[in-house]
Symmetry: C2
Subunit: 339 residues, 2 copies
DNA sequence: TAGTGAAATGTTATCGTTAACATTCTATCG
DNA sequence: CGATAGAATGTTAACGATAACATTTCACTA
């Protein structure tokens, strides 16, 4: 950015000191009314814009929050961002948004850059798929304010906002078992190292257990979080001899469910007649696809809002506690489960 | 952010000058190999993170780009952001994202804050609905690097990346006229003061003219850019005596079309039998709604990519010209037009 | 062994703003 | 009318990093 008008320029133009100009423009007391007005006038005419970079250097505050999301096209996240925005806008914080593209390496790079930019805090949904938490442990220890949302890393002393994944996953699985009497239920899982992958898998397991159904290894296929992964995972299941195939599919999220639907369609099989299927997220497409998707409705906006609120509290208040905030999701019944 | 390790801390710990530390960590020549290694070691142990704020103050560069979008939930924009991201990530720029929520006031505030944050450039899709361009004229004159995308403000010397709105709008309207023989065609328009609102309206007009159809004032209803607006606008049309009602509706974008569809459904009328309807954007829902929407496919990712590239060129190259970059959209035929 | 030049390191000033302390006004009172 | 408190303004240093210039160190040559 080119040269811009500084306090000193205004001061020189008026024959006063920079300090007086600073005081006038920041509406401090102890400035003569006339002087103040003169300065404000002049500043306007000269087109003065305060330099926040310089201000930040002194104040050690940037009024800036870093947000790292794993995937901007997954409709869930823009909605979360909207929730975050609502809170930060009111408190005059700016958002620096980074998309990690489901790559932990990019995520680390993003976090490092954000820290180096002196953001006042970071909101992150982690793409990490390994169990080595050294990276985040160090971040937290360096007293960087950090709040996880959706995909959390627990046990390192950072707060987290997420929906009750396990419970919801159990509920939707039980719906398949109890309402529809399915016994052969598969799970297209997320990476087990990511909280939501693990939690949703556990919910699925618990539902089976409670109904005394045994888990079939061949029916647990890791699919990642994207459509393509769901497609591939479903193909594997379709390769099983027909008698070994499940009758229902619990998917770790909506994109994976859409991918699986695609594979089912391609194979000439029908939903829900051949396969019942459920998702998780309730993204915008869920009610609109050919067979509307039964899924878990996640209050994304709420997640963003709560996470941002928690972070701002951490930034302001010294004594703010680490917290695990769970937001209740609801089951959204549509046709894909057989209802 | 709490106190962090500075160059000086490292320097003191090792009994050298800050300058040597700076040189070592920035891999400059003229530093003894051993000293350099020692410093790099120490920096790692002490957990040093460079302070970009300080660096920016000296270099007058923040490696940061401001992005202002009118609506983050409109699926078009996240896709644009992805395109921008691709470019900026490679060049090591960070994005500061702001959502103006279709409010010009918020937009101005955002731009001012971004300038004050010393971003190296700004990418913006304007929500402005008034014809007073003083604000942006001043921004451009203050040699802030600025590139518009999608919703542009023209004639003030800023570059712009957008799709061939007028032409595409004309094409889709002509499709209704020539392929389906509709003669009574309405337009749910955007605000006329926004480029895309104006351009798409003009495309619609031109199509009518070329087929010697006269425009009917009652069939031109301003609907804004959102679903709710489309719903309301369509209601107005449905209030007309049935004989005065149009047979086809050209909408300024997809959300407006969805809103209109809702109103049509509520009135117990059928698409495309009672009303043919077209959109503009081809957002994620378009192929999925009850009657799949015939619309204009906008290469959002491409728009983002090109806009970001142009901006980076402006930032780097001194002699970069103002440019109007038009990207070709394509007509996406589905069922809502009667095909 | 003194002299030389390049490499290594150090010092000072600067970016734009503000905190903390210092000085100069000015109005009011005894 | 001088003293004085309080308002108005000014000066200096600092935030952390770096550019520009200054000094020291050291290997090598004449």
């Amino acid at each position: 950015m080119g040269k811009q008008v500084t306090l000193k320029n205004i001061a020189d133009a008026l024959g006063v000191s920079t300090m007086t100009v600073s005081r006038a423009l920041n509406d401090r007391s102890n400035v003569d009314k006339k002087t103040k007005e003169k300065i404000i006038q002049k500043a306007k005419i000269m087109g003065y814009t305060p330099n926040r970079v310089a201000k930040s250097l002194v104040s050690r505050k940037t009024q800036t929050i870093g947000v790292v999301i794993p995937e901007i096209t997954h409709a869930f996240f823009p909605e979360v961002v909207r929730g975050i925005e609502e809170v930060t806008y009111r408190s005059d914080y700016q958002l620096i948004l980074t998309n990690a593209n489901e790559q932990f390496e990019r995520e680390q790079h993003a976090v490092n850059t954000l820290r180096s930019q002196q953001v006042d805090g970071i909101l992150i949904s982690s793409s990490q798929t390994v169990e080595d938490y050294t990276f985040y442990r160090e971040i937290v220890n360096s007293n960087t304010h950090l709040v996880f949302f959706d995909r959390c890393i627990q046990g390192i002393g950072a707060s987290c906002v997420h929906v009750n994944d396990r419970e919801s996953s159990e509920l939707i699985t039980r719906h398949l078992i109890e309402k529809h009497q399915y016994k052969k239920i598969a799970h297209l899982s997320g990476p087990r190292e990511v909280t939501i992958g693990r939690e949703r898998y556990m919910g699925y397991q618990e539902a089976l257990e409670k109904s005394n159904l045994t888990e079939n290894r061949e029916w647990i296929v890791e699919a990642g979080f994207k459509e393509e992964g769901g497609y591939q995972a479903m193909k594997k299941i379709l390769e099983l001899p027909q008698s070994d195939q499940p009758r229902a599919i619990v998917c770790v999220n909506d994109p994976v469910a859409f991918g699986a639907m695609e594979a089912i369609k391609e194979a000439g099989r029908k939903i829900p007649d051949d396969f019942a299927i459920t998702g998780f997220s309730d993204e915008i497409r869920a009610p609109l696809v050919e067979v509307p998707l039964t899924t878990v409705h996640q209050p994304a906006y709420e997640v963003g809002r709560r996470a941002a609120e928690k972070l701002l509290k951490l930034i302001d208040g010294e004594s703010e506690q680490t917290e695990d905030i769970e937001i209740a999701a609801t089951i959204q019944i549509r046709k894909s489960c057989g209802c």
